[in-house]
Symmetry: C2
Subunit: 126 residues, 2 copies
């Protein structure tokens, strides 16, 4: 539910701070990044997102969902399947993630080992 005792950006003062409270978590940016090209299953994310426990991954996904940056689709089948994808709002963050990725790559002095943000068909907010 949206009750969310954790995601309170109520006392926020400026837009930068506000934004950082929504995507500033240690793993949130990475999750958004890995959803850049569409749907991902929980297990896929778990494999990709090394260095984070399932519990944390779930928690981060829930927070992003509460923040309406991603959606969660549960398929009632056996075995169960849960798919995540970015909302429009979440997609709006991709340009910024791209910039960040490019900067990071420059800093690392080599190509990023994750794929770049392709998503040619993603409706960029004009």
């Amino acid at each position: 539910m949206k009750k969310s005792g954790k995601n309170i950006h109520t006392d926020t003062i400026c837009a930068v701070d506000y934004a950082f409270q929504r995507i500033g978590g240690k793993h949130k940016g990475r999750v958004i990044y890995h959803l850049r090209n569409g749907v991902r299953r929980y297990g896929e994310l778990r494999k990709i997102m090394t260095g984070i426990t399932p519990k944390m991954l779930t928690q981060v996904l829930r927070e992003l969902e509460d923040d309406e940056l991603i959606t969660r689709h549960v398929y009632l089948e056996v075995p169960p399947r849960v798919e995540y994808q970015l909302t429009d709002t979440g997609r709006e963050l991709l340009p910024f993630i791209t910039l960040l990725s490019e900067w990071g790559a420059r800093q690392m002095g080599r190509e990023p080992q994750c794929q770049p943000v392709l998503a040619g068909q993603s409706g960029m907010p004009a």
Copy 2:
């Protein structure tokens, strides 16, 4: 790289993750943002950066310095004066901070209460 017992981005896998480890802290983005127009004294930052204790502010500033995103200039005078400003690398992050700020402002449905990233006109203390 500096010694930095905290800022170890050695086990980093991708550029996004790497970048987030450097600017992903809760307050780092805000500090960078508030240094966008040039030099700031410690006390200025302390006034601007509400919701963060001096200890934390100092710590964040140190981390940013270790990461070579900001420089720290100490003036040996009485009373003491310490000035911070962005390095070139730090300045490269401004476009991204701008994007983030704009997104945050849109999400908040109103104008950001911090000034936009544009050179100082309105009453910048010298």
